[in-house]
């Protein structure tokens, strides 16, 4: 090794040591743990204890299914909503634009624990304002926390409420970077507003929308706080248990670190797979 390289590595050493201790080692350690039966003292090597169990475990498929439902329903709904919000925010007809921008962005500023508590109150079966509103238009009260599909709907509503505005602001930035003369030319060619939106706005927004979709997918894969706090640890009976919650329950309620590690590796593999899929879908066609 050359002298100057040695000096460089010397300066890097503090970082590298921390990286090795707090990143590399846990990654290796949890990989090894996933092949051990961690429910006996001391731990013993056993392939079937975790990996064998994982692919036969209905609770794992349930968590996977719930995560996928959120991915497939919540992300498109939220991105569509965010795009509409961004276009409205960008409208020259809009007054008090600053206020609206802040209002859409505000949910992000609210702490997760606080908004979870408010949602729990609003959707309370007997006293919640949502059921009161439903009753006033003749719809029977919905048991938001005890009925699995209703709890899932509630979760999707909550996550969408919190993150739609954030995405709208990102998309708004994209909208404002589209030069006005493109629209001017289209207007001169008598292209209607709706067609302008489909043939000009959307294609030019594609990179930013793709970025929002990737961020949202990563967020959904890691979804933990909302099902933990709003639907009471993935209730009812696992009805809103996501992969993140399932991992947590195995690791820290059942104290099965080996199984939790196997789940973590499966989640990582899944995230890589979905990211690759995203890149492939969003590639530039030559």
């Amino acid at each position: 090794m050359q002298l100057r390289n040695r000096a460089a590595y010397g300066f890097l050493a503090p970082y590298l040591m921390i990286f090795a201790a707090f990143w590399i080692w846990p990654i290796i350690s949890s990989f090894l743990m996933s092949f051990q039966n961690t429910r006996v003292n001391p731990w013993v090597f056993s392939f079937g204890a975790n990996w064998g169990r994982l692919f036969n475990d209905p609770a794992f498929y349930n968590a996977l299914k719930n995560t996928m439902i959120i991915l497939i329903i919540q992300v498109p709904v939220m991105i569509t909503l965010a795009t509409v919000m961004a276009v409205l925010l960008n409208s020259p007809l809009l007054r008090a634009r600053g206020l609206f921008r802040f209002a859409f962005f505000a949910p992000i500023v609210v702490g997760e624990v606080a908004y979870a508590a408010v949602f729990r109150l609003m959707f309370n079966l007997d006293f919640g304002v949502i059921n009161k509103l439903l009753n006033s238009v003749g719809i029977a009260s919905i048991s938001w926390f005890a009925d699995a599909p209703a709890a899932m709907a509630l979760l999707i509503i909550a996550v969408t409420w919190r993150w739609a505005g954030y995405n709208a602001i990102l998309i708004l930035a994209g909208l404002q970077s589209i030069p006005g003369d493109v629209y001017e030319a289209a207007t001169l060619d008598r292209v209607g507003k709706a067609r302008q939106f489909i043939y000009i706005t959307l294609p030019l927004l594609k990179p930013i929308i793709l970025f929002c979709v990737i961020l949202s997918i990563i967020g959904s894969m890691q979804l933990f706080t909302e099902p933990f706090l709003i639907t009471n640890r993935g209730g009812p009976g696992g009805g809103t248990e996501t992969l993140g919650l399932f991992l947590y329950r195995q690791g820290f309620t059942s104290l099965n670190f080996g199984y939790a590690s196997a789940i973590a590796y499966t989640m990582a593999a899944l995230a890589i797979l979905i990211s690759l899929l995203n890149l492939w879908v969003g590639r530039d066609e030559k």
């Binding site: 429910r39 003292n41 169990r53 036969n56 475990d57 209905p58 609770a59 349930n62 309370n124 079966l125 007997d126 006293f127 048991s143 926390f145 005890a146 699995a148 709890a151 639907t231 009471n232 640890r233 209730g235 009812p236 009976g237 696992g238 009805g239 329950r249 820290f252 309620t253 059942s254 104290l255 099965n256 670190f257």
Partner: protein, 426 residues
Amino acid sequence: MSFKFLGATALVAALGMGSATALAQPTEITIWSWDIAASSLKASLEGFNKQFPDIKVNVQDLGNHQVFDKTLAACAAGGDGLPDVVTIENYKAEIFWNRFPDCFANLKDLGYTSEIQAKFPDFKRTELEAGDVPYAMPWDSGPVAVFYRRDYYEKAGVDPKSITTWDDFIAAGKKIAAANPSVVMAQADFNGDSEWFRMISNEQGCGFFSADGQTIAINQPACIATLEKIKQMKDAGTLTAANWDEKVQANTAGTVASQLYGGWYEGTIRTNSPKLAGKWGVYLMPSLAPNGAHAANVGGSSLAISNGSQNKKAAWTYLNYVLGTDEGQITMLKSFGLVPSLLSAEKQPFVSEPQSYWGGQAIWADILGTLPKVVASRGTAFQGDADGIYKATQTKYFAGGYPNAKAALDDAANQIASATGLPIAQ
């Protein structure tokens, strides 16, 4: 320095009940607990500090889930960050001794003699002792009873004494709901808990696991009958879903006529709904058959001392006062309704006194009278797995995902077997 410190506190303990503790340096111990359990510990401090003015006890109310999660995380980290004393629920206790045998102190080394152990019932001690090592001292038990609104029952012409079976309970529920608009008969936490199943199955002598903790018992006939009855009650509108907080809200708002819980729920009702004094009463839990059992236990906790504590002797002094004396236990029963598991405390005069909040009923005599009939049930180290699987099964069964309760619990038993490696009882 810490050696000298320990010596001083050991002296305090050696002096026992005496009050000559002026020699000791002031010692502070910290306790993690939750809700009324934390409140009742605080209530015990006045009496404790009269005898031991030099031990300052700092009770932290973190909430039930938080205490469990933080304690597990701390034990997994080798005991770092634990307070001196931790509150541990009996049915979750074995996971700690099983996985972290060094996280908590062996109370025998601190003065928990076999004479003191014998002051507590066996069913409370089994889960707290691994082999011959006692890791925690029994605190309260949870003999189950129905807490009910006298006025709502009266308005519907229902005599609680006539309710001996769960079918009677369903029939009474229909009358009560008809006579009291917008009042539900009872509530169960179908979202996040399994408390009704655990209570009724225990009454029927069944449970997630067999009494020795070696086999899975959840698909035994008594458990199947329990699940069937719970679904009947849900379908009949007798039971509606509500979690802990929603139950408390409903109690105070007067939208519920009865709650089924362990004796410790007395303090929750009394302290959260003080304006309803005189309107609540208690009766024994109904059974599945007219001549069936009427006793079960749910909940109940213990206190354990962390191995890393610098003040183990002082912590033990407090445990022995608050859990091991009639004075400590009766203070907690009086203030927050925590049912003592200390056998001698049950003979104290307070237990047979009429309680004004409860319409003059001597509720503690009624509730404590069921204790000798309680069948022991084991949480085991796999409680978390079994409970999670049961709740998912229950939700699916309610939604019509299984043809019958037997199929549901057979499936649950198979899942618990694959998660734990334990055999299913024949």
